[in-house]
Symmetry: C2
Subunit: 254 residues, 2 copies
């Protein structure tokens, strides 16, 4: 019987709160912890995937936390004045606005490397490699975004889709699911990432909401949520909580 | 018979020139390649260590290149206006001065992740873990440096020593040298890193040159070079080229 998403979120919060950073990082710990606020969508998706496969959530926590640290790294750097110049994040000052630009650059770097350290706690390098590939896609996506000429689907696949895929795939890899069972999970992950992004654009009034209109984006979100649920039906796993997550992402208001 | 350092440097140059980055990185390839200029001190030290142990240099090239990419990442971020604000690096514009701050931040991130990708080509995660530990030390060292209150030895151990240690240790790990043979190599690596830093300070007129004077720093460099050579004598390896490297570092003028 898989645990509800709220229980998984508590597990993640507890793990992140206890997570020790390298002592060498010294005073960077404060901006790093400041950066680690958030809704935990990705790590909960990672744990729920593992739970659906019968893996122990505790064994997946380093992978789930690694995904969240990569997400946080990307926000810290993207918020910088030279990039998106965002002074606010989640209703609080962004890391650079609170601690200064230099600590924000270094704290972002450190979050990325700490993520790799967590991913490297698994005997196989597969979790770390999945995270590396997703991170390279995100960085390339941010550069494309700054250039301003990218096609929306491609941009979102890089900036959002890759890390959602990694959230699901890291759970499969950490749980040693054979490679030939990966493809349907990949397709599910791609749709969940797309769903998250469409609803994000609806909430922000940009991206898909700007390009196909609010009604069009709402319809697209509903279709994507329906397709995500269909993807779940063919998986050999207890997908009840994953379905709960899909439904939650489709109707979220923040 | 180990190959001379000049041959090893050519091997590194060829490998880096051919190195393919993730296609997703798109136009970041130019600032990343711009960042990859340099003397190749660390990767040559890595290859020479491997050569001294009888490992094939070709097998060590990914580790050597990974070390160089981490070094380049750190320079790209350290040069940024918010950190050291250096417009020049190696007689050319620094990455941010040439390409802008946003591409420099992202190119630095990408170099770091590409380094991890190279380190993860080894079956064991040990090379990647060594690199992660060194990178965390470097980031923490840069933060300490910005705070301006650190003790010089400690600062240099973090900012320079850690990656010199990784240059040597990655070769040992890639060549599967048993752990009980590591300690004397670690001590050698620590001294080579210190030697490099003292001579760097002599050339720049800061750090050790400022704290103990030019003559004092010169004496310290000679003592450290002598101790490095002594460390080599007790190693079960063909250390001729490593000695050549130590001698070269002691008298370098650029």
């Amino acid at each position: 019987m898989p645990r509800p998403a709220s229980d998984l979120r508590e597990l993640v919060e507890g793990y992140l709160a206890e997570l020790a950073f390298a002592p060498d990082l010294g005073s960077l710990e404060q901006p790093m912890r400041h950066a680690l606020g958030g809704k935990r969508v990705r790590p909960v998706l990672c744990l729920a995937t593992g739970d659906a496969l019968g893996a122990r959530a505790e064994d997946l926590l380093p992978a789930a936390a690694a995904v969240e640290l990569v997400h946080s790294f990307s926000l810290v750097h993207d918020d910088l004045p030279a990039l998106d110049d965002d002074r606010e994040r989640r209703g609080a000052p962004s890391v650079w606005a609170e601690y200064g630009e230099a600590p924000a650059i270094l704290a972002g770097d450190a979050l990325l490397v700490e993520a790799m350290r967590l991913a490297l706690t698994y005997p196989s390098g597969a979790v770390a490699r999945e995270l590396v590939d997703a991170t390279l896609a995100m960085i390339g996506g941010q550069q494309l975004d700054l250039e301003g000429s990218a096609q929306l689907d491609h941009l979102h696949a890089l900036k959002t889709g890759a890390l959602f895929r990694a959230s699901v795939m890291c759970a499969l890899l950490a749980a040693d699911v054979p490679v030939d069972e990966h493809p349907p999970w990949r397709m599910f992950a791609a749709d969940v990432g797309l769903l998250f992004q469409i609803v994000d654009d609806l909430l922000d009034g940009d991206g898909y909401a700007a390009s196909v209109g609010e009604d069009g984006a709402r319809r697209l979100a509903d279709e994507t949520a329906a397709r995500s649920r269909e993807r779940l039906e063919v998986l050999h796993a207890d997908t009840e909580v994953l379905e709960e997550i899909v439904n939650g992402l489709a109707v979220r208001t923040s």
